[in-house]
């Protein structure tokens, strides 16, 4: 859906041919109750208002025809809708289009504004007032405004806007007790008189003042809905509105001169040409310690290593083995003097009719297992058991992978990202790296999917949606799929490079970096069109609020898991079928001569490459068991990093970028991986 142009989206949304309430939103929104719509700029604390009004039971769903999620909850009097954070109501991107459609269908607007950031936020407020909707304004973060020396005359603001204005500090729920009383007094505000006249001239043709405004501001989608030509007055109206904001600020805000606050100083350091580097280094190191060491190491060792591999999977397989033919290989493991895990003894038990049919043998197996740690391998005879419960089975490996490996990692990454976002560092980081990314045909905003790629390429591929143009999405997706190793793979790569030595590590890093830069530069030079320039407002640096951060983390993680889970299952199913039918082995055999002849690696390495399809880390892990020279390690790791991400990320890419483009990138990654791997082999081996 995502690579549609705005025009194509109109085709899909079911609003053509209706006159008044005929939008995609009409079918989406609840009927009967008064619809209260929360509107605000990004990061103004809107979700805390939403939570306060709706309580625990919240329904989050995709807005029809888009990938934008909208929360909906119930209040005794209202059906409450949360809209995406926007700078204005128009149709510059999917978020704005969704917010616009919900606002148009809303009965009552609660506009949350950041008292510290009125310059930015009042533009949206005045636009909402011009739409002629009944509304109230909640002036949030009043505590922070006060501490920054801003005095805001709330009565004056309310009088000039013509709607109730409620000062609040959402984090302490200050002012929340008066919210319902204010909502009951919501009214239509004072729009500018000449604009008001023009709107009324259009009114009988489009049905509502809100829609008239959208038409006048040149919104072609709304104009088409009503069969009228879109207006060409957007810029004039915007400039007038901007001037009204400035006049309003003059009247209602008094700023006392402040000493430089710590947050302003930090904000300046973060974007300073020199201090920006140590600042970035400290943040990256903290990120590495938290996600790389703590989550990917300690937490995943527990969840995947212990809970997933030693408890969950054996439990599932044990139940399946009860009624189906299987061999069970029991490996007793212990630790040697150096603390390394070693195999003490291995025995295979054969159950042609399942374990239930042979309790005596099961007894023997249990006594063999007794004492110490065991690794169990179940070799099911039935292809069905293999597909669903085998080594790569949908109900064995995929569940472990999703719940015990991916979930902690995704939580860790989104928690870090939410902290960076709420602290105000993220937009500054985007500014700091803007120039470097411009050379790759991206702008600073692309740093978000690129960072997430080191967590999970699948998650990062989904996040490319936030980029401004299709061109940028295409470049970012290609870089992610080719050159960014995900965390699962990074762990294995780091371990292998540690044994191969510093020289090998340097060669590997140099090769991957070169490929990374080359891909971006070549795509930027060859793809038609231009990428969007950076235009980003930098909110003040502030201490993130725990509750807000946790909630954001949870919502984003849940959304990712909901969206990605089916693809991981479908991917696992596809690979299991390839395995059962022998096609996986055939593929390995086809690759073997290339692996030995061109890459100068042992033939078994081709097995590791194909395993990389299932899970990127499986590929690298397979290399452990081969006796490779340091330079062979470099060749193998280069090849594995560059080619195919796991099958789930392939699936998500096909969905996001379309089948044709997705397949081109995928096949390209095979060619590039083996091409570059071979060239490296020519030079170093």
């Amino acid at each position: 859906m995502n690579n549609l142009t705005p025009d194509e989206i109109t085709e899909i949304l079911p609003h053509r041919g209706h006159r008044h309430h005929g939008t995609g939103a009409a079918a989406f929104l609840e009927q009967g109750k008064t619809r209260l719509v929360l509107v605000g700029n990004p990061n103004v604390g809107k979700s805390m208002f939403f939570n306060y009004l709706t309580g625990l039971y919240v329904d989050v769903s995709n807005f029809p025809g888009t990938t934008v999620e909208v929360s909906h909850g119930d209040h005794p009097k209202y059906a409450v809708y949360d809209t995406p954070g926007i700078y204005g109501v128009s149709s510059f991107n999917d978020e704005e289009r969704v917010a616009r459609d919900i606002i148009l269908e809303g009965d009552l607007i609660l506009n949350v504004v950041d008292a510290v950031h009125l310059e930015r936020d009042l533009f949206l407020t005045l636009q909402l007032i011009d739409m002629g909707k009944k509304m109230i304004v909640c002036l949030n973060m009043m505590d922070e405004a006060k501490s920054r020396g801003l005095a805001i005359n709330v009565q004056e603001l309310s009088a000039r806007l013509g709607v109730p204005v409620l000062p609040t500090t959402a984090i302490h729920k200050t002012g929340f007790d008066r919210m319902e009383e204010q909502l009951a007094q919501a009214c239509v505000g004072n729009s500018e008189s000449s604009l008001h006249r023009r709107l009324h001239e259009l009114l009988n043709r489009v049905g509502s003042q809100a829609e008239a405004l959208m038409v006048l501001e040149g919104d072609s989608i709304i104009a088409e809905r009503h069969g009228v030509p879109p207006g060409d007055e957007r810029e004039q109206i915007y400039v007038e509105r901007r001037n009204r904001v400035n006049r309003l600020l003059d009247k209602v805000v008094t700023a006392t001169e402040q000493k430089h606050s710590i947050s302003a100083t930090l904000g300046r350091y973060a974007t300073s040409p020199w201090l920006g580097f140590p600042f970035l280094a400290v943040i990256l190191y903290a990120l590495y310690l938290f996600v790389g060491t703590f989550i990917a190491g300690d937490v995943v060792d527990l969840t995947e290593g212990t809970i997933g591999n030693r408890m969950f999977e054996p439990w599932v397989k044990d139940h399946v083995a009860a009624w189906t033919a299987t061999d069970i290989v029991v490996e007793k493991v212990g630790e040697d003097a150096a603390g390394e895990e070693i195999t003490l003894a291995t025995r295979t038990f054969n159950f042609p009719e399942g374990t239930d049919a042979n309790p005596a043998l099961l007894q023997q197996m249990d006594s063999f297992r007794d004492g110490g740690t065991n690794n169990l391998r179940y070799n099911f005879s039935s292809p069905w058991a293999v597909i669903f419960f085998g080594e790569f089975g949908a109900f064995s490996m995929t569940v472990t992978y999703l719940l015990f490996l991916l979930l902690p990692l995704v939580l860790g990454f989104y928690l870090s990202l939410s902290l960076l976002e709420d602290s105000g560092y993220l937009p500054r980081l985007a500014t700091f790296v803007d120039r470097a990314l411009t050379m790759l045909g991206l702008n600073g905003r692309a740093i978000i999917p690129l960072i997430l790629g080191f967590g999970c390429v699948t998650m990062a591929t989904i996040t490319t949606r936030l980029l401004g143009t299709d061109r940028e999405k295409r470049i970012a997706t290609t870089i992610l799929q080719f050159a960014i190793p995900c965390s699962a793979q990074l762990a294995v790569i780091a371990a292998l490079l540690a044994t191969a030595g510093t020289g090998a590590t340097l060669v590997y890093v140099a090769v991957i970096l070169t490929v990374f830069i080359t891909i971006g530069t070549v795509l930027d030079k060859t793809l038609p069109g231009t990428s969007s320039p950076l235009l980003l407002d930098l909110p003040p640096m502030r201490l993130p609020r725990a509750r807000n951060v946790l909630q954001k983390t949870w919502v984003k993680t849940l959304a990712f898991m909901k969206e990605a889970t089916p693809w991981f299952f479908i991917g696992a199913l596809a690979v299991s079928i390839l395995q059962v039918t022998g096609l996986l082995q055939q593929w390995v055999d086809i690759l073997a001569p290339i692996t030995t002849g061109w890459l100068k690696l042992p033939a078994e390495a081709s097995q590791a490459f194909v395993m990389g399809l299932v899970r990127r880390d499986f590929g690298a892990a397979g290399l452990y068991e081969m006796a490779l020279t340091p330079m062979q390690v470099v060749v193998a790791l280069t090849t594995i990093t560059l080619f195919v991400p796991c099958i789930a990320s392939l699936m998500v890419m096909l969905k996001e970028r379309g089948t044709r483009e997705g397949l081109v990138i995928w096949i390209g990654s095979w060619i590039l991986a083996f091409g570059v791997g071979g060239l490296v082999a020519l030079v170093v081996i």
Binding site: Y87, H117, F123, R234, R242, D434, P533, L535
Partner: protein, 79 residues
Amino acid sequence: MPSSASVPLVKLRKGDHGVILTLPKQAELRSQCIRLGICVAAQVRCSQRLPGGTIIIEIGRQEIAIGKALAGEIEVNVE
């Protein structure tokens, strides 16, 4: 008062003050600028320049980061 000159925003040095004269040509980009307060006649101050041309400007109490390509399309009168 020093003589004033019309230059692209991207040429501003850290600490320079200026008044915006023209906005970028592309209509949607122009509208996005106006929403953020980047309008003709707005007073701006360059609060940071990064190597490579990304710049940060202050308009009122608001800070806005602008990429090199866009900053090259906005003309300002330096004071």
